[in-house]
Amino acid sequence: MNTVDHFNGDGDVPALDGRIQALIGRQLQAHYGALVNEKTPDNLLKLLDALANAEHKSKKDS
């Protein structure tokens, strides 16, 4: 996980201190990890089944 890197800034804006980058990285990963770990809504999971079934039916009919 790229919480701290060795990028030296973009010319106009120097890179932040590595410890500040690390702190921001941990906050970001905690925030994002919570989103990733949310339960995926059933309708999204069922969508894939619907797509697969529709394709199967289409091939069967043709």
């Binding site: 996980m1 790229n2 990028f7 702190l23 906050q27 970001l28 989103l35 770990n37």
Partner: protein, 188 residues
């Protein structure tokens, strides 16, 4: 790292595996769970319909993220044409300033993220949360590697500013030692 096959069973499995990350990225982009779910639905439908265009052996997650972000910005451009937000009232409803406090909980951090520009936010999330390399993030965003590096750097500066971190003195030793991170990338 997942490598999708183009056969229905393979892509079905890989899309299911990618969905939590797609949804997290979508929420981060648009800041609205309902809109994010619609965006993921549109992305999955497009990926399924165009799966023959995916090159086996390349990064399937990056391919999905590219579809999602292109769909998002395309929808955004269309909605901006439809909503004439001349006085910025609509935009103001979408964001509110964060507390100027160095000790932020997750809800506060989400509000901080909302304050940075969309292009900087997506670059930071792709690199700092999803674990993409700068090169992979550049492919997803359709820009130069240097642009991604610059956006990530500027995003970090903006967050530090919003978190009121102006020097190392603002970071206590407890903050440096805490480890609240949850593995964000289930499929990386």
């Amino acid at each position: 790292l997942i490598v999708a096959g183009q056969e229905p069973n393979g892509i079905h499995r890989d899309l299911v595996a990618a969905m939590p990350n797609l949804r997290a990225f979508a929420i981060s982009l648009c800041g609205n769970v309902s809109t994010a779910n619609d965006l993921v639905q549109e992305t999955v439908t497009k990926a399924w319909a165009n799966r023959e265009k995916f090159t086996p052996g390349t990064n399937f997650k990056a391919w999905l993220f590219t579809i999602l972000r292109n769909t998002y910005f395309s929808d955004l451009r269309r909605s901006r044409r439809e909503i004439q937000d001349v006085d910025g009232a609509h935009a103001a409803l979408l964001s509110s300033p964060p507390e100027q406090n160095g000790h932020l909980d997750l809800k506060d951090f989400a509000r901080v993220l909302e304050q940075i520009s969309p292009d900087q936010r997506e670059a930071l999330i792709l690199v700092g949360a999803e674990g993409f390399s700068y090169e992979e993030a550049a492919v997803v965003c359709g820009c130069a590697v240097g642009t991604i590096k610059s956006r990530v750097n500027r995003a970090r500066h903006k967050i530090a500013e919003l978190m009121a971190i102006t020097s190392l003195d603002d970071i206590g030793s407890a903050s440096l030692q805490q480890s609240t991170a949850t593995p964000a990338s289930r499929i990386a």
